[in-house]
């Protein structure tokens, strides 16, 4: 739909930041001098941080007694992040990024009062963090807990410092130097036509897979749960009300409407508990997974064709609020409650490849299971979206890009702590597929106790009483990670606020919290994918380029919804358990996107001729390339049916050919045929992903080789415009920055730079 014509849309508006008032006096400097370096106090502070971090890691990795206190996870993470931020990110800043604060950012030289708006760094940090934090860092670590706590903890903390935060930081900076261009546009410019096209097709496919698997997580959390279905369904009328309120009643009052929405959301959660207890409510809202999947598919189509103000924008406001609130509450609860963790550092499944939660060996599959939280390719799309257009000064990219990702990693650590604070027997009963447990309490008890895990003695009472405490019919085989996290979070939170009486409230609060992000991601992902498809089709039929042409928009939305909807239904009806087989594909897709982003960054760094420091992006690229290519190859070529899609495919095809009518957890010929079909699709997708990623990486390496040979490559950066404003770089200003800030504050109001209020 077309908005009213606004003066903001006029093209000549793009370069109008020069103040109309002629400066009456010289402006103070726009960049601060470097700090005075090391003082004894600073050395002492960093020594304490290093020591505390060292003690925490010793407790986690070496001492690991009978139980480990959760507080050590918090200290190990926080101290490592601080050291990574202060030292490694500084090295990257000095040698790779080389920001120049005398140079205007796009927010300054393209200022238009709308999307290019210089924003206070602390506000922008919150904005960027809310944009990158989603359901991924909450789900991945939960599933990875199958291997024990240490592999996941190491990868989340070390991975973010050396890989994830580096990717986010570099993509943010280079996109900022290119007026906030998107990853796809940068790939086309830097890697040429083939690499660029491969990157765009890969992004489109990845979007489809990620949308489908996120939706699957919601379906699994809501299946057979009348309480969950009611409260999540209520988010739709709440969002509609908020949209109408902002459109007609009080335009632009976002904070106010978010608060109202939050109160309504809490009412929906409480109301869900009441309604699920009534006979009619239980009957009306107990839906099987296939029905819920269809509900989400229909919702996804409608939400994606409606104007954003109706559903998407209000949902966004709600989830920003929930995200920041819940994460702060969880951090506080973990510090206050300090649960004792009895999960072993390495579990019995760490050395094998037949774990019940997801199949495959620790290497490479742990590194694709925990995607977000350590390294997330999706962030490259956000870091090349709105954030680069709002940066006030170039040197702030370290705080926003690198620092923002450290925060996300901290969320992943907290999710891991919440998941491992629940009993291990319950953990496996919840996360083993229904094929293994039979979906019954007795089946789950027999299966889990049969795993031979030390210290695990699951009783039927444990499962029934836990299910009752969280207000669910059953907690057996609630795969997907979200219910496990919700249970862990409920357990931690009830120790902090409310006690056992509030356990079921916290459980459904956590489910709602995840469903809210995921449904927004589904809606937004469908829109983005539709635009990408329209752009591609536009090369053949130019009419499709016009995104306001309704038949084209509807057709392309329908195609994209059908694509992810088919994968979703495949997962929901999969006799082998859905999440178990599909989650590796989700992780591989996300990590391949990271490989693409890092390949683009590597090509840019090489073109800037900083060859000595090329290893900084090359290190994570090499690691993620090895991980994802190995994982893909195992998914394609492994002879173990649980691991290799094609091995599974062949096993079931042969069984059908020899006239068998059941195999493994597939009990009928139809189910066996479904396995044959599903594995063929999953196997084909694995091949397509890995081929596209290899093409992108090779084209990037060609660019690097050309730069190394001394070839002069085209410069794609914006021309340098001198800056006329100042702001500190980090969260806490240095003494030099404070002094400079005083000089700027002393200027008359009309000479002060305008800042997103």
């Amino acid at each position: 739909m077309r908005g009213p014509h606004t003066p903001l849309e006029e093209p000549e508006m793009s370069n109008d930041a020069a103040p109309t008032v002629t400066p009456e006096r010289e402006l103070p400097p726009v960049a601060a001098e470097p700090g005075r370096g090391w003082t004894p106090q600073k050395i002492a502070l960093w020594a304490v941080i290093a020591l505390l971090g060292g003690v925490a890691w010793t407790m986690l990795a070496i001492v690991r007694g009978e139980t480990v206190n959760a507080i050590w996870f918090v200290f190990a993470a926080a101290c490592t992040y601080l050291i990574g931020y202060r030292f490694y990110a500084k090295v990257i800043e000095r040698h790779v990024v080389r920001p120049d604060d005398t140079r205007a950012t796009p927010a300054e030289h393209l200022a238009n009062g709308k999307d290019y708006v210089a924003t206070d760094r602390r506000v922008l940090f919150g904005h960027h963090f809310a944009a990158i934090a989603g359901a991924g860092p909450l789900v991945g670590p939960v599933l990875a807990a199958q291997m024990g706590y240490l592999p996941g903890t190491l990868w989340i903390i070390v991975g973010v410092v050396l890989a994830g935060a580096v990717q986010d930081y570099l993509v943010l900076f280079f996109s900022m130097r290119r007026s906030g261009r998107s990853l796809g546009q940068m790939a086309r410019e830097e890697l040429g036509r083939i690499g660029g096209a491969a990157a765009i097709v890969a992004t489109l496919l990845i979007m489809v897979i990620i949308t489908a698997i996120l939706a699957l997580v919601v379906v699994n959390a809501l299946g057979e749960s009348p309480w969950g279905v009611f409260s999540v369904a209520m988010t739709v009328p709440i969002a509609l009300f908020m949209g109408a309120y902002l459109r007609w009643l009080r335009p632009g009052r976002i904070t106010e409407v978010s608060l109202i929405g939050f109160v309504l959301l809490m009412a929906a959660i409480i109301g869900g508990g009441v309604i699920a207890d009534t006979a009619w409510g239980a009957e009306l809202f107990t839906l099987d997974r296939t029905t819920i999947a269809w509900g989400i598919i229909i919702y996804g189509f409608i939400a994606a064709v409606l104007p954003v103000w109706v559903l998407l924008a209000p949902r966004d406001y709600l989830s920003t609020f929930m995200k920041i609130g819940v994460i702060l509450a969880l951090a506080l609860a973990i510090v206050v409650v300090r649960p004792e963790i009895s999960v072993p550092a390495f579990s019995e499944f760490a050395s094998g490849e037949t774990g019940p939660v997801w199949p495959g060996a620790l290497f490479p599959f742990l590194f694709v299971t925990i995607a977000c939280g350590a390294l997330s390719g999706f962030h490259a799309l956000i870091a090349s979206g709105t954030t680069p257009k709002m940066l006030e000064k170039e040197r702030q990219t370290r705080f926003i890009g690198y620092g923002g990702m450290l925060m996300e990693s901290f969320v992943a650590i907290m999710a891991l702590v919440a998941a491992i604070s629940i009993d291990r027997g319950i953990y496996f009963a919840m996360n083993a597929s229904a094929g293994a447990t039979g979906g019954t309490v007795e089946g789950a008890v027999a299966f889990v106790n049969g795993l031979g895990l030390t210290g695990v003695n699951l009783t039927p009472e444990m499962l029934t009483s836990t299910a009752e405490a969280v207000g669910e019919e059953s907690i057996v085989s609630r795969t997907g990670g979200a219910p496990t996290l919700a249970l862990g979070l409920a357990q931690v939170m009830q120790g902090f606020i409310g006690g056992p009486a509030l356990m079921s409230f916290w459980y459904h609060f956590a489910i709602m919290f995840e469903a809210l992000f995921i449904l927004t991601a589904v809606d937004a992902g469908t829109r983005v994918a539709r635009f990408m498809l329209q752009d591609t089709l536009g090369n053949v039929v130019p009419r499709f380029r016009d995104t306001s042409w309704l038949p084209g928009a509807w057709l392309c939305t329908a195609i994209m919804v059908a694509a992810w909807g088919a994968v979703l239904l495949m997962g929901v009806t999969d006799p082998l358990g859905g999440i178990n087989t599909l989650f590796p594909l989700f992780g591989i897709a996300n990590q391949l996107l990271a490989a693409i982003a890092l390949a683009v960054v590597l090509a840019i760094v090489a073109q800037r001729r900083t060859f000595r420091w090329l290893w900084i992006p090359a290190l994570p690229l090499a690691f993620v390339a090895v991980v994802t290519i190995t994982a893909s190859f195992q998914k394609i070529f492994s002879p173990v049916p649980a691991v290799g899609y094609w091995a599974q495919h062949a096993a079931y095809r042969d069984a059908l050919a020899s006239g068998q009518t059941s195999l493994g957890s597939a009990d009928t010929v139809e189910e066996m045929q479904a396995v044959v079909r599903n594995t063929a699709i999953q196997g084909t997708l694995s091949i397509v992903f890995v081929v596209l990623a290899i093409v992108v990486i090779i084209t990037a390496l060609v660019v690097v080789a050309r730069a190394l040979r001394g070839e002069q490559l085209t410069e794609h950066e914006d021309a340098r415009v001198p800056s006329r404003r100042f702001a500190p770089a980090g969260l806490v200003p240095t003494a030099e920055e404070r002094e400079l800030q005083r000089q700027w504050d002393a200027l008359p109001a009309e000479q002060q730079p305008s800042r997103g209020h």
Binding site: P7, H127, H757
Partner: protein, 70 residues
Amino acid sequence: MARPGVDVPVARRVWRGLRWYLHGVTGESRYEAYLDHERRTHPDRTPLSRSEFWRGVHADQDRNPQGRCC
């Protein structure tokens, strides 16, 4: 300017700071930023009303969708 001042009591400063931060993160203060931009660079023309501005922002989001993170 909704930025925290200096000569006001602590409670009010905290409240103002919180308000300023929430309005920033939710995006509510984008309209004020726009007004400020218009006042400085185009003092000659009438800026959009709050309602018109937000309609424009949403229309813009319809044309340039942004993904959400997983």
